[in-house]
Symmetry: C2
Subunit: 366 residues, 2 copies
């Protein structure tokens, strides 16, 4: 046998990294127009805008929060169609630039089909890492039956534009979406934002949204969600959600930051949301706790403060606040769950989702 031609020396896949949409009669749709529905955005946005905080907040937000609010973590587009092929045309606010997060996770889109509770992965955008725009076939099906489609938008990048390409003449309708009364708002860190999932659908809030019939509003701000009161006041302008999850300990570092911010943040929310269930989740372990007793001790001190804060509020009469210990969410082999000792991979996120699912279901049922 002679040598084979090998065109993709560094690509691990027989599929070309860039899959241009084939020359077919595509009709391009705006996701801001019906029957498309945008999930995961807390505030009403004008067409063309995808921002996870108010467009014009009453107070100046911390710069990191203000910038990262444009990242579309947890934002989803949902619709029903019998299209056998779904394409997307994307204009990013920037290019892929992270060494421990894939371009597909930072800037890509993935698609799931089926109803909540029975969704299956159907495709991810593959595109040049260096490009700030792409047009690709996201998924293709052998049959043209009607399906509910959910697209998960980029975790660590903003979008200047998004269009959805479907074959002309295909069926297109609104898909069922959970009522606003079942919203779950999750505030936190880079981990909450989805760092470092391999593709958007594997961020833990997106995994949970496939299992629980509730709209998740993902307010994770990488390195910047530090429990600032102006952020709490901005979040409190949302209509009261069913559940609010507080998952920002990893951004606090020193216990002083947690002591200073947590009681104030919770008080601001509770004043505006008297009936919302609040779940305070302590941090999952960092890998270095396996050999660094001080790192472990710092986490346990932070955990104790959060537990005590919740207990104090409950004693004072607030029966709608609960503490969840993040210590065991990742399991005994927690050092295997992150890319860098801190940021979860799809493995870590799947375990976090597994551990959070039942507590959230119980709170929703109350």
């Amino acid at each position: 046998m002679t040598t084979r031609t090998h065109k993709r020396k560094s690509a691990p896949t027989p599929v070309a990294a860039t899959t241009p949409a084939p020359k077919e009669d595509l009709h391009w749709h705006s996701p801001w127009e019906p029957p498309f529905r945008i999930l995961g955005l807390g505030w009403e946005m004008p067409a063309g805008s995808l921002r996870r905080m108010p467009l014009k907040p009453a107070e100046t937000l911390p710069e990191g929060v203000d910038v990262q609010a444009w990242h579309t973590a947890g934002v989803q587009i949902r619709f029903r169609t019998d299209a056998a092929r779904i394409s997307v045309r994307v204009k990013l606010k920037g290019v892929h630039g992270m060494d421990h997060l894939t371009a597909t996770g930072q800037c890509g889109i993935d698609a799931y089909i089926g109803p909540t509770g029975a969704m299956t992965f159907a495709g991810v955008t593959r595109f040049s890492r260096a490009a700030d725009a792409y047009q690709v076939t996201l998924c293709a099906f052998p049959t043209a039956e009607r399906r509910t489609v959910t697209l998960n938008l980029p975790l660590y990048q903003g979008l200047d534009d998004l269009a959805i390409g479907l074959p002309s003449g295909c069926h297109l309708a609104a898909a069922p979406c959970p009522p606003k009364s079942r919203r779950i708002v999750v505030y936190g860190t880079s981990i909450t934002q989805g760092g470092c999932a391999s593709r958007p659908g594997m961020a833990y809030t997106n995994i949970l949204s496939r299992r629980i019939d509730a709209e998740f509003i993902t307010l994770g701000f990488s390195g910047s969600g530090r429990g600032e009161p102006e952020v709490a006041r901005a979040i409190a302008t949302l209509p009261p959600p069913a559940v609010f999850v507080m998952d920002y300990e990893a951004n606090c570092h020193a216990i002083e930051n947690l002591r200073r911010t947590l009681p104030v943040f919770l008080a601001i929310l509770r004043r505006c949301w008297p009936r919302t269930q609040i779940l305070v989740v302590s941090k999952v372990p960092y890998a270095r706790e396996a050999y660094d007793a001080d790192a472990r001790e710092r986490r346990l001190v932070n955990r104790a403060f959060q537990r005590q804060t919740v207990a104090r509020l409950r004693r004072a009469g607030d029966s709608r606040i609960t503490f969840l210990d993040g210590s065991n969410l990742l399991g005994r082999d927690y050092t295997e769950c992150s890319v860098d000792g801190a940021h979860q991979t799809d493995l870590g996120f799947m375990r976090m989702a597994n551990g959070l699912e039942q507590p959230l279901r119980r709170l929703l049922a109350r």
Copy 2:
């Protein structure tokens, strides 16, 4: 509260992406010199070379195999030291260039500490994606006790040079390594090569090497491991391993390719290795099987052929060949396990390792 300075608008971590080795009195060591041991390379290599196939094969190899043999998938450096800080200096053969694999996975190095069976992750190299060389602190410990250190080298890139930086005067010794008689050679595809683990240690052969006291030789060749007889003849020049794993179905596509290559490949190996346990593993499901019955049917046809081939060889008197059905390795939610429907994430690789561990232990014990 005024706005905060936010210096890293797109980075999800408070740790700088590039961590230069601090100005300390580092002594740079060559991993090709004792007491360092290189694991995962089948053939003896001169200092400076890390290649997963013979340097000068007797026959011309398929170009893809020949190129990717330089990728250091499954190659490990092991040593014992009391160094409180371990640095690496790396010259890559190329830069990060994949959209669905991180730079840490394609071109990075990660470190584990502890003995086989009790290893914990201790750090990964963070570096500029655009660079073809880096010098970084790989891990740092609060104490200077003696530890066994295993470094996992890049999955999808070759190394032109590698040096290990330790504080001058630290203890340095050889670490225990499994005997050559317990080698497990794994031949296969991009999945076998580790696409798309977030960091090298999460490729399934590297996960298994932390659990089973055996040296794994990872001969996965992305898109190019197609069961060619010249590749079989090259592999058969290795000293007989304890176990050989055949995991290349995903590169065969049409059943004809499997029919043409599998019996020939196995016969070549068996002629040279009469006592080696051979495990033929059929492919894990692609995500599209959830909605594409033809894709599922193709895999089942391929699986049946592999099962029948093994049964035929056993009937003919070869009691040292076994078939393992890959259908269930990923679990019921197999569509969640890959980045692109085909290439496993850390989640998929952890499940593959979980499913392969006991079968491999049983074969080693025979």
